[in-house]
């Protein structure tokens, strides 16, 4: 996200007050990521350990395998570390 898309100081609420609830959904932390987890669907056994361990609730359950929500995944790599079948690899982001 480029800084041009964000509001300037004149239009932001003073004192950094967030004026409504549930706004963490609007803060897409995916752009913090240096490495992205990539799921090999052939190796995934859908055990959901990654789903349990993900600190950002960025693992999305599907019928036969998991997918990653890249809007919020910060690339911490815990999922890849915990995966018992080595189905998740961390791939460097191309910027």
């Amino acid at each position: 996200m480029s800084s041009n898309e964000k509001p300037g100081w004149k239009s932001l609420p003073i004192g950094a007050v967030v004026t409504e609830g549930g706004t963490s959904l609007k803060y897409k932390t995916g752009d913090w990521r240096a490495f992205k987890p990539v799921v090999d669907k052939g190796k995934c056994v859908n055990c959901l350990l990654c789903w349990i361990y993900c600190p950002d609730s960025s693992i999305m359950r599907q019928e036969k395998w998991v997918e990653v929500n890249y809007d919020y995944c910060k690339g911490c790599g815990i999922c890849a570390h915990e995966c018992p079948t080595k189905a998740i690899t961390m791939v460097e982001e191309q910027k």
């Binding site: 800084s3 003073i14 004192g15 967030v18 004026t19 609830g21």
Partner: protein, 391 residues
């Protein structure tokens, strides 16, 4: 007109009593203690409806004040010296969260060596914390500025914490006749605080959200704007106060500056001594003047420049040292305000009064004579004069 005998501390407590403050959270420290002691008596006697929060430290006092301010309450606290130092972390949070809070600071030297007497080391060490800083000359001014400070602090274009500074012991403990307003007049002047947001479970908000590289800077820029707004809003508040109290305030008070060749500029109680000496010297035909600064942060650059640019020499009194800097804090600010003036006055710094060392009229006279000599020769003999120190 009602004149009652009050010390500076008592005058502040009296003003707070009249201001319908919702919450006071404070911790005692000499020479501020009497402010909160008197106020706690008003609470115990049922003279005010204020919630009085007894806390275990100044860090907690300001933390509680911040929390109370964020709910939309009118908040007062007071401290001094080590207590202000202990608040340091919370000072930035109060200004960063844009909390209207009025805090009286009974200026006192910082340890070590330990000392309880008056100088400006405490507040000068907090000068970049985003607080508005006002300095009173006497108990009357401490009373008047406390009332005006609430109005300034709570203004929608400001919403910043304001410190009202009064020199430890010299002002805090000296009794004077103080002209106080009637309660309804104060209520009419201050009205009820109108917060820009409140804590309401029906409309949840987040206060103190994390702001990283992408937002933090914008909120600091907002604080700069609020500080700049102080100049405009303060003038309006002072005008309104003059209408009800008959006393005129602004960012600074000049004396004898219309024809002065040499001037001193200072904060707080020193101005009274300086003015008295200037009066005597002017009677002898010496063209000297005094500029007393009421507002130190935001620094009134234009007004200071306008007041001083016509003189030939300026002595800047600093009641604190900025170790390792070329000048004391006030002197640096004065020189900064003057540096765009062509043929700006020759300026030198006078460090004085540290740890409460008394400044005598003869000391000020010595400085005036030095300034007159500088005005005549155009040469600053000594960049920084350590007035009254034993060699």
């Amino acid at each position: 007109m009602t004149i009652i005998g009050l010390t500076g501390d008592e005058a502040v407590a009296y003003a707070v009593k009249q201001s319908k403050v919702d919450i006071v959270a404070a911790y005692p420290i000499t020479p501020q203690t009497i402010i909160v002691e008197r106020f706690s008596k008003y609470v115990a006697d049922g003279e005010v409806q204020t919630g009085y929060v007894c806390v275990e430290s100044e860090h907690s006092a300001l933390s509680a004040s911040i929390g109370a301010s964020l709910t939309g309450a009118r908040v007062f606290t007071a401290t001094s010296s080590q207590g202000l130092a202990l608040m340091h972390e919370m000072l930035y949070i109060a200004s960063g969260l844009r909390c209207p809070i009025v805090m009286a600071v009974a200026n006192r030297a910082l340890s070590a060596p330990i000392n309880i007497h008056g100088d400006h080391s405490d507040m000068m060490g907090s000068r970049d914390s985003g607080w508005v800083q006002i300095y009173a000359e006497n108990a009357q001014e401490a009373y008047d500025w406390t009332l005006q400070a609430f109005k300034l602090s709570e203004d929608k274009d400001i919403q910043l914490p304001v410190s009202v500074n009064l020199d430890g012991f010299i002002i805090t403990h000296c009794m004077e006749g103080v002209d106080v307003l009637e309660d309804p007049v104060v209520h009419q002047f201050l009205q009820t605080r109108k917060p820009s947001f409140t804590v309401d479970p029906e409309k949840p908000i987040t206060i103190g959200a994390l702001c990283f590289t992408d937002y933090y800077y914008e909120f600091k820029r907002q604080q700069v704007e609020a500080m700049q707004n102080v100049h405009r809003v303060l003038n309006r508040v002072c005008k309104e106060y003059k209408n009800v109290a008959g006393r005129t305030y602004s960012v600074l008070e000049p004396f004898g500056m219309e024809d002065a060749q040499a001037a001193v500029i200072c904060l707080g109680s020193t101005a009274g001594t300086a003015r008295e000496v200037a009066r005597k010297l002017r009677a002898q035909g010496k063209k000297v003047g005094v500029v007393k600064l009421w507002l130190y942060r935001p620094f009134p650059n234009e007004e200071v420049s306008a007041a001083l640019k016509h003189v030939k020499a300026v002595a800047v009194f600093d009641k604190a040292i900025s170790f390792g800097a070329r000048y004391g804090a006030l002197c640096s600010d004065v020189i900064s305000a003057l540096h765009t003036v062509e043929e700006s006055p020759k300026t030198f710094n006078v460090i004085f009064g540290l740890g409460g060392r008394d400044i005598q009229p003869s000391d000020v006279e010595l400085v005036f004579n030095e300034a007159l000599e500088t005005a005549k020769t155009g040469v600053v003999k000594q960049e920084t004069m350590f007035l009254g120190v034993r060699e």
